[in-house]
């Protein structure tokens, strides 16, 4: 089971990294606003940085969303399935998820290499943001997402207890758990 522990640790690490990065974006934006309104000179490249960051943040967090069961789904019918059938349906759904991220991985691979070799960049003028970090982050995130889908499919079929009790790689702390796990 050590590979599971390792991937859970990685999943958690990427979540923390992405969440902190989203928080840091606040300060980029504030710097831009203050620079523009007080010093009459915007901080160049903030929109480009924010744009690329959002893509990276999402894919870094994807693995956690999947592993912790936070992905949105409709369970109005699934609740009424006989338990064995419900578990198989769930596992098949997870395998579809693995296939989806595998396709993103395969589909984005070449473009990522090409953008690194050719020095592709985004944004014009003052600040050029290279495209390869974003493209490679998508690959890393998708690979982990794919792995986590396979993992929860396996756990769902063979070790349903483990999936239910752990509820993801993080032992949810009581004071942040309930109002935050919302799906608006």
């Amino acid at each position: 089971m050590s590979i599971v522990k390792l991937s859970d640790r990685l999943t958690r690490f990427l979540l923390v990294l992405a969440a902190v990065w989203a928080f840091v974006l606040t300060f980029f934006i504030i710097a831009d606003i203050v620079g523009r309104s007080v010093f009459n000179s915007p901080v160049y490249g903030v929109p480009e940085i924010v744009m690329n960051s959002i893509v990276m943040i999402v894919f870094l967090q994807a693995g956690y969303a999947i592993r912790s069961g936070a992905m949105l789904r409709a369970d109005f019918l699934a609740q009424r399935f006989p338990p064995a059938f419900g578990r198989v349906a769930l596992a098949l759904g997870y395998l579809l998820g693995a296939a989806f991220f595998a396709m993103i991985l395969v589909g984005g691979w070449e473009a990522a290499i090409r953008s690194w070799v050719a020095g592709e960049y985004e944004g014009e003028g003052a600040l050029r943001v290279p495209a390869w970090p974003t493209r490679f982050t998508i690959l890393i995130g998708s690979a982990l997402a794919c792995f986590n889908y396979l993992l929860i499919a396996y756990l769902d079929i063979f070790r349903p207890q483990a999936l239910r009790s752990a509820a993801g790689p993080v032992a949810s702390d009581p004071d942040t758990s309930d109002p935050d796990n919302e799906s608006p």
């Binding site: 606040t26 504030i30 744009m51 959002i54 936070a70 409709a74 989806f100 396709m103 589909g107 942040t176």
Partner: protein, 455 residues
């Protein structure tokens, strides 16, 4: 190149996957992959290329940052406890009003809605803040919980709201305009809610504890209240910080958009920053800040992932001609515009009972919005109508999410209230939302007036 068989396969496979409980993002993504595969005559390489490029391009826009940033803002403000202070201040300010605790709950929730984008947070917070107080003064339990659940809907209807942001992103309408359009309908609903509470309190005083709260001196725990009051005086500056903090968040976000100083993204960034300052001023420590940041990471990722596959889905619908096919089928019917609108709203009500609001928008908007626009409805007013209709599902059985949230939040306080009792007492609020919806359909100016002043 509208092909009926491809359209059928696409829609049916999507519905089957959703019904089987496949994650909505995956259902949308895989149905799109299948659709692309079929429409290109079985080219797997095109599917891969589309998926790879959509993953990179779908969210590469400045606007998408608003989702995590507004969530951060709401999280910081909630954790600061500012809302509790404001709620207490309102309810002390409303001397001698019948049902004043319920009215304070409504107004407090309305104010909270201006600083948070989700309803669930309001429902959970007010179940803990307001319900114990109402119970202490002998309010009818169902009436009290109905007020909490009903007013929590305001979270989504008053800007900033995650639903409005997602609507704007999906339909490529201006988020700022939708925000401003939501202000007057939100206020309209608040006033209707307050009227309902006042009328019930006057007609049936038993619902609000027989007026115990207003008859000063006869209150059984008056002495305790006195002590309470002096403690409040000591913390008066706390109330002022809270009030000022919330006010500056609202001014920064809505005012910034109103005067064109901020884009929604910048407004969200500024709001998050002020929220952070407020929370620190009110004693949030590093641990709390880290919790807030991580909890936003947990809640924002599923929504943003949904938006990636929604982009793929709408590209596929355009590629396969499904959306234009369905649109012409809709428009080709003999139905009058209002009937089509009623049909769409009916579909939303039904979906609202079984799926969460954002998923509903992803599944329906690419098809519904162009229909509504070609019928001559104002796209901004239609956004507010749609959000109201989808949001109403949160109060309807069997799966009204807000009702379950309220029930879960009061579990320690009072476990004897049944789910159905809360559903029953939220029905008047649901009806009022329906009234508001009909009002906006007939007078779209309620929604479009403010944006028309600015944009």
């Amino acid at each position: 190149m509208f092909d009926v068989s491809i359209a059928t396969v696409l829609i049916v496979s999507l519905l089957v996957m959703v019904a089987l409980g496949v994650h909505i993002a995956i259902a949308l993504g895989m149905a799109s992959a299948l659709g692309i595969f079929l429409v290109t005559g079985g080219s797997f390489n095109v599917v891969l290329a589309m998926l790879g490029s959509t993953a990179y391009e779908a969210l590469r826009a400045y606007e998408f940052a608003v989702i995590p940033l507004f969530m951060l803002m709401g999280e910081f403000v909630s954790r600061s406890g500012a809302v509790t202070d404001v709620y207490r201040a309102i309810h002390r300010g409303l001397q001698r009003l019948p049902g004043r605790l319920a009215v304070a709950t409504l107004l407090g929730n309305a104010i909270f809605s201006f600083v948070t984008g989700v309803s669930i947070a309001s429902a959970a917070a007010f179940s803990r803040i307001a319900y114990p107080e109402m119970k202490r003064f002998g309010y009818h339990r169902g009436f009290a919980l109905g007020a909490v659940a009903g007013s929590s809907c305001l979270g989504m209807l008053i800007p900033p709201s995650v639903l409005m942001i997602v609507w704007g992103l999906l339909t490529e309408r201006s988020i700022g305009q939708i925000f401003l359009a939501g202000v007057l309908p939100g206020l309209l609903l608040v006033s209707l809610f307050v009227c309902y509470v006042l009328v019930s309190a006057v007609m049936r005083p038993a619902l609000v504890g027989g007026g115990r709260e207003t008859a000063a001196g006869t209150s059984p725990d008056d002495a305790a209240h006195q002590a309470d009051d002096s403690a409040h005086h000591a913390s008066r500056w706390q109330t002022w910080t809270s009030g000022l903090g919330i006010l500056s968040v609202v001014v920064a976000v809505l005012g910034g958009i109103w005067f064109g100083v901020f884009t929604p993204t910048e407004g969200a960034g500024a709001g998050a920053f002020i929220g952070l300052a407020l929370a620190i001023a009110k004693g949030m420590r590093l641990r709390g800040a880290i919790d807030a940041i991580l909890s936003v990471g947990r809640t924002s990722a599923p929504i943003l992932l949904l938006l990636v596959s929604a982009a793929l889905y709408s590209r596929t619908l355009a590629m396969t001609g499904v959306s234009s096919g369905i649109q012409s089928a809709f428009l080709g019917t003999e139905l009058l515009p209002w009937m089509l609108l009623a049909l769409m709203i009916g579909i939303w009500f039904i979906l609202g009972m079984v799926i969460d609001s954002i998923s509903i928008m992803l599944l329906t908007l690419t098809i519904f919005e162009p229909i509504a626009v070609s019928l001559g409805y104002d796209p901004i007013a239609f956004a507010i109508i749609g959000i109201l209709a989808i949001e109403a599902g949160l109060l309807t059985p069997p799966f009204g999410l807000l009702v379950y949230t309220v029930k879960a939040a009061i579990r320690d306080e009072d476990d004897s209230v049944s789910i159905m009792e809360i559903f029953r007492s939220s029905t008047p609020y649901w009806l009022i939302m329906l009234v508001g919806l009909i009002a906006i359909v007939n007078f779209p100016q309620i929604a479009t007036f403010l944006p028309s002043l600015v944009f």
